[in-house]
Symmetry: C2
DNA sequence: GTCTATACACAGATAGAC
DNA sequence: GTCTATCTGTGTATAGAC
């Protein structure tokens, strides 16, 4: 699969996300009309991602956010109760989106090599499609409360476990070499992570996410595949 | 080389670093006695690393730093003019240390494979020995001014260039496969980075830096080496 | 060289008019 | 639903005694 396909499949769900944000928080916020809320949540989230990319979430002031969104301070506080709650909102919203996508693109009935490829690609493509969120979560995880922090760690571990299982299944079938699968999985994740952490580097060099995905697969397969 | 050896070679220079910090800033600070300055700079830097690891540099207040170092606010400001200058001090201090170490451990006359191994190991071992600094620089780079930011980027690029050159030399000698060396170098760097970014994960699993280094080398060599 | 006390600026958050 | 004006707490930084 190429990134273009992936994105089209994903696209439809993007608008839904902000509806979810509104609906799940309807009781906590002062806005009543869904259409307004959805439009402005999108605007607010985008602005947060931008400003945070430039200076970090802590350094972003509500006045920064106000001027970037062209909304007044008073208006902003109609959408969330505090800066901390805004952080929680962003975090939760992305978290649920990601879990959904992984379920959608991973078929445990495929051959192990096929599974390995599609899981690695799905993760890279998703981190491309939702890059601001991935970057934000990684860099701002310090600001999360312990419970939210735990959610981030479990997600890290569950995607790693997914890889480990595939590698084990492949080894059983004699397709993959017998290696330290958990460490292999960590290294695969490290490569995936570099894509969204060092975006500026790859962009400058005109490496697309498809290029990068192919290279990661080549690298991984040359290590894992049984070459008898 | 194992990490233990590396650390011993390095150790001697550790005390020197804080002398350097003092001497280079003698004009800007109110402290006159080297011995006091060195002792307290060390205490201050360590505290900054700790607190920043917990909540980030922006979120660290001067009062946090004061209570962690058992020094008063007034005293702290005798060692640096502002929080921003403290950031610059930490940044500069680590930067020069790292460049020194790389020169020390890389011998361009070795065989390419030997060079590749020693450069990868030196980077990993250094990031282990000076982990707080590496982590700090990565996570807090947003707070740097453009000039300092540029220094960080150049360093990233120069370590990558070093790898590219080794890979090219190896290819010429027929030792390494013909691949996209720059992308290979990026991926090697991604693996190195994971070591200090995900310290908690490897620690929990009792993976030592020697284990990790060996695995990264295995991974890399299985991709790069010509297997004819 | 280190301390306590304090000035001052600015951030988060709210009240209440429109 | 959005705005402006404002309150209040907290953070950086300094003055000046010891």
């Amino acid at each position: 699969m190429k990134y273009m396909e992936f994105k089209q499949i994903l696209e439809s769900s993007d608008a839904e996300i902000y509806k979810e944000v509104f609906q799940e928080n309807q009781d906590n916020i002062r806005i009543k009309k869904e259409k307004t809320a959805v439009k402005n949540f999108q605007k607010i989230f985008d602005a947060v991602f931008q400003i945070t990319y430039e200076k970090g979430f802590q350094a972003m002031t509500m006045r920064d956010l106000s001027s970037r969104t062209n909304m007044s301070l008073g208006s902003l506080y109609a959408y969330f109760a505090s800066k901390e709650e805004l952080l929680a909102l962003i975090h939760k919203h992305g978290s649920s989106m990601i879990t959904n996508v992984f379920e959608k693109f991973h078929n445990p009935d495929d051959e192990p090599l096929e599974q390995l490829r599609s899981v690695i690609k799905a993760h890279l493509f998703l981190s491309e499609a939702a890059r601001p969120w991935f970057y934000f979560t990684f860099m701002e995880s310090k600001n999360l409360n312990p419970e939210q922090m735990q959610a981030v760690i479990s997600m890290e571990e569950s995607t790693e476990n997914r890889l480990v299982k595939i590698l084990e299944a492949g080894e059983e079938q004699g397709l993959f070499r017998k290696t330290n699968h958990r460490l292999t999985a960590s290294i695969i994740k490290a490569m995936q992570q570099d894509w969204y952490l060092k975006r500026w580097k790859y962009k400058k060099r005109e490496i697309t996410v498809d290029d990068y995905a192919d290279y990661v697969l080549e690298f991984t397969e040359s290590f894992c595949l049984n070459k008898e």
